[in-house]
Subunit: 200 residues, 2 copies
DNA sequence: TAAATTAGCGTACAGTTGTAAGCTTAATTA
DNA sequence: TAATTAAGCTTACAACTGTACGCTAATTTA
């Protein structure tokens, strides 16, 4: 095995270990460097061969989480193209994501309101990215003016994330109900934005 | 001084100390029992004369934060009664609150997505309380059916809290812009809910 | 007044943390 | 092949954590 390959492999082990340590009871800020090292199967001090400190690892996790989110969006777009309502399909795709990757979503959720400026900024970037793409989509498909489309997209993303946060504590049936409520609320927003645009 | 009075005074000192230690860089889970004791001017072990453990203190903080929030609602209602738009007045009142009590709001925001089930449940209760009151208000003033009024209220509260989270990192001018955007988004929801109710 | 209660303190201890220093060993380079 | 590089290890240390135990002193109760 290559030296570079080995290093990448260990780096991956560290990242995977960190993700595996996150659950409903453990946030990133609550896990220690030593815990991560233990889970990754390396000595505590070896950690420094890969990351300057635990925060640098954290930012890497946020980046990876953002990447997963963007892939999710692409998946949703493919599904929409092959039939099904925009709102319904997007919400379903999102809910599938947080069910399969709850720890990844939890990370974004917590660091969004966390104690590190850098983390908050990183999560915010990902969310804004999400919002921008939705804005463009809305302008293209509905012809709503850009400002309103952006307001609508922002409100929708916030609502979806908020619902996602709630879904983490729910079982399957409760999630189903949550989804239906969310879809109606998103319908309120899209209908309201369109109606308000008339009054300009 | 009474023994009971003295005990209450110390208890208050602990609670105030805990609140004072919260800021953008320090969440409740990141502060230690010893830090709180130090800030309250008591010995670490004396802490246990007042709280079973640090979590019991945390729940007390959440309760107090919820109380402050409910008082805020009453204040908003008084303001609405004496003229001014419902949405505009509520948003302004809310923003004044998080400006003056940012640490209190930060606590709710973080524990809402935190690692303790008890904390999350406690914050959720406060938010639901908030939502219920808004639902009743909406039914009474607009005649919207209860289900839609509840969906509308929930969406609005989520959006307001989400905007509040963003406001914490903003300066005065940015907050002003945020407020205007938020008000428009709330308008979308109220208009949309009304419009969607027609289609029943 | 005597006895009981209790808020608060000091000491102590075992466990955990981040990380500095230097060694080993295997891959890379010259 | 010999010299260099570097990933990972072991050991070590000071700082901090929560909390058990027993004492003191002052208030409350009998």
């Amino acid at each position: 095995m290559n030296r570079q390959q080995q290093k990448l492999k260990t780096r991956r082990a560290i990242i995977d270990a960190a993700f595996s340590l996150l659950d409903d009871q453990h946030s990133f800020s609550s896990i220690s460097l030593r815990e991560v090292a233990r889970a990754a199967g390396i000595a505590p001090t070896s950690f420094y061969r890969h990351f300057k400190d635990i925060d640098e690892l954290g930012l890497t996790l946020v980046d990876e989480a953002g990447l997963a989110l963007r892939q999710l969006m692409r998946q949703a777009r493919v599904r929409i193209a092959s039939g099904g309502g925009v709102i319904s399909t997007s919400v379903d795709t999102f809910m599938e994501f947080i069910t399969a990757n709850s720890n990844v979503f939890r990370l974004l959720l917590r660091e969004h309101t966390g104690t590190s400026n850098a983390f908050r900024a990183a999560v915010l970037r990902e969310i804004q990215h999400f919002t921008e793409e939705l804005t463009d989509y809305t302008v293209a498909t509905t012809g709503l003016n850009k400002k309103f489309a952006n307001l609508q997209a922002e409100a929708m993303v916030k609502l979806v994330f908020s619902a996602g946060a709630g879904a983490l504590d729910f079982d399957k049936i409760q999630r189903q109900q949550l989804c239906e409520r969310l879809k109606l609320q998103l319908r309120f927003i899209s209908t309201g934005a369109l109606e308000c645009a008339k009054d300009l």
